[in-house]
């Protein structure tokens, strides 16, 4: 399978990307690691007239400490480099752990955090993680930059709040401080496939009880979902309450039915995986 023809622009700076986007509008697509976009282009589901390669924009790589209790991860930081980054490992290891479940090793060597998020596929793992972390994305366009909360960024299937002339420059996540535990449970058809359902549970423990619980669901709607009913039901309770709370994990979700699973089966998986993830996170 061969992509349709396109004009190729190898950008060297964020400004050059913004200028090129401004010129071409929705005829242009940004190429990050290419592991979401190139398969779509090969199937001709996507046929951009202009492809702007971000691979040489060094400003978009790397992790820094923002000094306000958050880390900023450059949009073009590859999954493998997020997983191995000392700042991420020290302050937000949950993100490293979820990233280690993305795709397979070859995909993680090419795919980027910004690309995976900007693609806006609710079946991919990082959107639910960013939602559970209450992270943000920084978008830059011709009128400057703006910060968008994860809860506002994902709008619909493969649709985000990004304008046609904006790119994601970095992803911001809070440092995880205190006695938090977490687990990402991912149910797949075969090892490296997309999640049929994924659940990230994060639990902050204090004196044997759950001070705060967060649950992010992958592929339970067209956008990542927080299981807020489960989270509220666990606040201040002991881990004994997990099984009852997890029974409500599918409340308010709208999973799709497809070749891999029916919506009912996805709801079942969400309940089971939420229980497992919470039990592991609370241990």
């Amino acid at each position: 399978m061969i992509p349709a023809t396109f004009d190729y622009v190898r950008a060297g700076s964020i400004d050059e990307v913004v200028d090129t986007l401004k010129e071409h509008g929705d005829e242009a697509k940004l190429l990050a690691g290419g592991h979401s976009l190139l398969p779509l282009m090969k199937l001709r589901f996507a046929a951009p007239e202009v492809l702007i390669d971000l691979g040489r924009v060094e400003q978009l790589r790397g992790v820094r400490d923002l000094g306000d209790g958050r880390l900023a991860i450059g949009a073009m930081t590859r999954h493998i480099d997020v997983m191995d980054d000392p700042l991420v490992r020290e302050h937000c290891a949950v993100l490293a752990d979820v990233t280690a479940k993305v795709g397979d090793p070859q995909v993680r060597h090419r795919g980027t955090i910004g690309g995976a998020l900007a693609h806006g596929d609710a079946a991919s793992d990082l959107p639910a993680a960013l939602a559970a972390l209450d992270g943000t994305l920084v978008a830059q366009g011709p009128n400057g930059s703006r910060e968008i909360a994860a809860s506002d960024f994902f709008v619909d299937y493969l649709t985000t709040a990004l304008e046609d002339d904006e790119l994601v420059t970095e992803v911001r996540v809070p440092k995880i401080v205190g006695p938090w535990g977490w687990r990402y449970e991912k149910f797949t058809r075969v090892a490296q496939a997309w999640a049929i359902v994924g659940v990230l549970a994060m639990v902050k423990r204090s004196n044997g009880s759950i001070e705060e619980a967060r649950v992010g669901l992958t592929n339970m709607a067209t956008v990542p979902v927080r299981a807020s009913g489960v989270e509220q039901a666990l606040s201040g309770r002991t881990p004994d309450a997990i099984a009852d709370a997890a029974a409500n994990a599918a409340d308010g979700t709208k999973p799709s039915s497809d070749l891999s699973a029916s919506a009912e089966y996805r709801e079942h998986l969400a309940r089971v995986l939420t229980r497992r993830a919470l039990e592991a996170a609370a241990r």
Partner: protein, 166 residues
């Protein structure tokens, strides 16, 4: 057309290519290095795995223009020189181990398996069975049931460790 320059299996090369040319087609059709196979063509099966700047990638999902300025290593560059009469003695320990442990039947996945395994062993010289299986989760084999592939990788790992310590 866009000019690309890269080093493939140690040899510098330079061509004008269409931007939509996939790296695997550049390797096979332009450089005539057909050791790298195309399997599913959808980044699932891993048959097209090569190393790009030292890390395993699926070359059906990389544009040749993205590899500009990079070092590409394919299964064809793996074997060292062989002595008279025995073409196998220059083989890389992974190539030898896939042979001796019967880590293949039809052999179609083998170039990708070997390149994925090479990356794994560079990161983890002594993987246990689970680590080998997880390290190769991006590579599909429809013949062997993976048992002998795992054996082959662990056998090669032992030989590489011995070679490193001697």
């Amino acid at each position: 057309m866009t000019r690309v320059e890269m080093t493939v299996d140690g040899e510098p090369c330079e061509h004008e290519v269409e931007p939509r040319l996939l790296l695997v087609h550049y390797l096979r059709d332009v450089l005539e290095k057909t050791g790298t196979n195309i399997g599913c063509d959808t980044s699932n099966c891993g048959a097209c795995t090569v190393h790009l700047d030292g890390r395993s990638v699926k070359s059906c999902t990389v544009l040749a223009v993205q590899a500009d300025g990079s070092q590409v290593d394919t299964v064809e560059g793996l074997a060292g020189p062989s002595s008279d009469g025995d073409e196998t003695d220059g083989w890389h320990p992974l190539q030898k181990a896939f042979h001796t442990e019967h880590g293949l039947q039809c052999g179609y996945c083998t170039p990708g398996m070997i390149m994925a395994a090479k990356d794994l062993l560079e990161e983890n010289p002594d993987p246990d069975e689970t680590e080998v299986r997880e390290g190769l989760e991006g590579n599909l084999c429809r013949c062997t049931g993976y048992v002998n592939i795992v054996k082959a990788v662990r056998t090669a790992a032992a030989e590489l460790r011995e070679g490193a310590s001697s």
